[in-house]
């Protein structure tokens, strides 16, 4: 039954899409940032790569509203068709991809945008006066505008492209941190931070004499925000926290944390790697000083991430890396630096990847982040409740309840079976892709008293059937290893 619905829905999409009179108007982000390309040819070729997501949101809602019989088709069923990679067999089983917190898959729209860039207007940016270069520059800068609009930054110059979130955090640590932190200054983090948010600050603390202070978990197995509040003082110079935990699935109240931090004159860097892809994030509402995310976790290409920084902060920060792009004038003994964001983008950037990220943002916006978030909350609950049925399982992080939402991921262990053995068997025998290990959160694992855990993480293109397949496969895995003992 679902497969017929799916087919129905897909064919509806195929037939609807070409008939749309004007795709551009229907995309929320394209009206605010219409392609700034100067020729008709360029703007149409840019849009060509972006067409699919628009048709998607329209066809999805058209199908829903127009035909009550298909009203039960989930967002996962509708969007799966946009991800060619999901439709394959792995080790003889249908692939069930549940490693989205590590990286997401890419929809056709993004693949097309990349291909189109390399086929039609690959050129270096900001330096050539020729046609292709100006077209590539426009598209690259348009991608920056899309990112800015996506997180509601007030200007696109507040967006610095980096190669990933890790580089963005390093940028803040080395540029802002090294020039600001003094001995005895404090950096407040939680033990649930990803290594990429811990290690750069360790390196900078070693150089500056600043002190790192870590907030533990509370009894609900979420970072203890009361303790965090108490830890803040005039010594605190920056608070570095995740928005959504990649292991605990917990969500931190960033707005409150920012208020508390600003009260003592501290800045806040938000690691939004696991929130920006899954919910509407508004940097102005949060009032965050810095915020980072990675393109590859939000349907975009690898090799691309971004730093949002408040304009006045970025303007006062020294460069991180030196080279082309980031200078104003170079003399033999010194140079003057370009304004942000160029100051922080030394060398030829990842142009195609930035454009690909722009296409991913169009795709996500075409669906609507609120819709994605609501669907994922439903999936999160379904995943958690069904996983609990597995014998001897321990799921980490807060128990979902009325006011505690979890992200759509579960890290867990099953008694006496190594998570890597579980992940290996799930892959080999069932084609289910999950992660095993410490998920770059060793301090957190140590705190929880384990060396490793398994993690299943979902995205909007997953379905409840994926969860069912996974839980069934996990039960089989557990009985396999149990019978071996």
């Amino acid at each position: 039954m679902p497969s017929t619905l799916l087919q129905l829905c897909c064919s509806a999409m195929e037939t609807l899409a070409p008939k749309l009179p004007s795709l551009k108007v229907l995309n929320p982000s394209s009206s605010s940032s219409s392609p700034s390309c100067s020729t008709a040819r360029s703007s149409s070729s840019l849009r060509a790569g972006l067409r699919r997501p628009f048709s998607l949101s329209i066809s999805a809602s058209a199908v829903r509203e127009g035909d009550p019989a298909v009203g039960s088709v989930s967002l996962g069923h509708v969007t799966r068709t946009d991800f060619p990679i999901l439709h394959q067999e792995v080790n003889g089983s249908k692939l069930v991809y549940l490693d989205n917190a590590a990286t997401s898959q890419k929809p056709t729209a993004v693949l097309k945008a990349l291909q189109n860039y390399y086929e039609a207007y690959n050129s270096n940016v900001h330096r050539g006066i020729h046609f292709l270069s100006s077209k590539a520059t426009d598209a690259y800068e348009l991608a920056r505008k899309k990112v800015a609009a996506f997180i509601n930054a007030s200007e696109s110059t507040e967006i610095v492209f980096t190669k990933n979130a890790t580089e963005a955090i390093n940028l803040v640590a080395y540029s802002w941190g090294l020039s600001t932190l003094k001995p005895e200054d404090e950096v407040v983090l939680t033990i649930a931070e990803h290594h990429s948010a811990i290690v750069p600050w360790q390196l900078v603390a070693q150089k500056t004499g600043a002190v790192l202070k870590f907030v533990n978990l509370d009894e609900t197995e979420s970072p203890d925000i009361e303790k965090l509040r108490q830890m803040l003082s005039r010594k605190t110079k920056i608070v570095v926290v995740h928005h959504v935990s990649n292991m605990l699935a917990s969500v931190l109240p960033i707005e409150e944390i920012v208020l508390w931090a600003h009260d003592v004159g501290a800045k806040v860097l938000v690691d939004a790697c696991q929130s920006v892809p899954h919910m509407a994030v508004n940097v102005q509402d949060l009032d965050a000083d810095f915020l980072v995310a990675s393109s590859h976790k939000m349907c975009g290409p690898t090799g691309m991430g971004f730093l949002y920084g408040k304009r006045e902060l970025l303007s006062a920060m020294p460069p991180f890396l030196g080279g082309g792009e980031m200078i104003s004038d170079v003399f033999l003994d010194h140079s003057t630096y370009a304004e942000p964001p160029s100051r922080f983008e030394a060398g030829t950037p990842a142009i195609g990847e930035a454009i690909g990220l722009g296409a991913a943002i169009d795709y996500l916006s075409g669906i609507g982040m609120q819709k994605i978030h609501e669907y994922e909350l439903e999936l999160a609950k379904y995943l958690y409740e069904n996983l609990l049925s597995v014998p001897n399982i321990r799921i980490y992080g807060p128990v979902p309840s009325g006011n505690t939402n979890r992200a759509a991921l579960c890290s867990f262990n099953v008694e006496n079976i190594h998570p890597t053995d579980i992940a290996t068997f799930l892959d080999q025998q069932h084609g289910v892709a999950i992660r095993s290990g410490h998920h770059c959160a060793q301090p957190l694992h140590r705190y929880l008293g384990v060396n490793a855990s398994a993690r299943a993480s979902l995205y909007f293109y997953n379905t409840k059937e994926d969860v069912d397949d996974f839980v069934r496969a996990l039960n089989d895995t557990v009985s396999f290893f149990t019978s071996f003992k």
Binding site: T424, Q428, F481
Partner: protein, 231 residues
């Protein structure tokens, strides 16, 4: 069965017949049966020094019992002491070939996993003291410990353990291949040679989660260090 102080700790499948075939069932390889027996006093000295281990008794199993690896006691594919030999230079390459052939003969992933679990069960656990941080193999998503020492004949003796059964299976196979080999032979093995053993890790010879690769490298590093120390 001749009783001998030498009991191979990690025997791989053996069979009375040396003809391996591509028939449907798992192909059992005549592991060491064709190899010259070691001189008795050779292994006496060595194994007294380094072999506490659980006795794996011989069973000339047939392939049907072996294929049900859920019953390790039945399938324990053990070598008799008479068949056993210690690895020497040409044996490493040969054992490697045989292990590769054995895993290749198992087209079903579940059978490869079962085989690994079977070999894991044959590996005697390390004591808590050997599960020390300095013995940890870095880079694995599981915890793996490797210990190495040179015996009186200057050959490398390995012991290994893991908190994961599958990793333990990898260790078991590596020990089968390398334990008792000349240091030069140990160092010579390339991780690409293990590519076919990549149960669960197809074609990721350089992946940071590739336990085969990481354990092999660890064994080679320990060997190099032992050599440097003994000079």
């Amino acid at each position: 069965m001749i009783s001998s102080p030498f009991i191979p700790r990690v025997p791989l499948s053996s069979s009375s017949s040396s003809s391996s075939s591509s028939s449907s069932g798992p192909v059992m390889l005549p592991y060491l049966s064709n190899y010259p027996r070691p001189k008795r006093n050779d292994f006496k000295s060595r194994n007294l020094a380094f072999m506490p281990l659980k006795c794996i008794h011989n069973s000339r199993f047939d392939s049907s019992s072996e294929s049900d690896a859920r019953l390790p006691s039945f399938s324990a594919s053990c070598l008799t002491a008479t068949e056993a030999t210690l690895a020497s230079s040409d044996l490493v390459a040969d054992r490697l070939r045989r292990v590769v052939a054995e895993f290749r003969s198992l087209p079903e992933p579940i059978d490869r996993v079962k085989r690994l679990l079977h070999y894991a069960a044959l590996l005697s656990p390390l004591g808590d003291s050997a599960r020390a941080p300095e013995n940890r193999v870095t880079g694995c998503t599981t915890q793996v410990w490797v210990e190495a020492e040179l015996d009186k004949l200057g050959r490398v003796r390995f012991r290994a353990d893991s908190d994961s059964e599958i990793s333990k299976g990898f260790c078991s196979c590596l020990i089968y291949m390398l334990d008792g080999a000349e240091p030069e032979e140990v160092v010579k093995v390339k991780s690409e040679d293990l590519a076919d053993l990549n149960v669960g890790l197809h074609g990721k010879a350089h992946s940071r989660v590739n336990t085969w690769h990481n354990v092999l490298i660890a064994m080679q590093k320990r060997t190099t260090a032992l050599l440097a120390g003994s000079e």
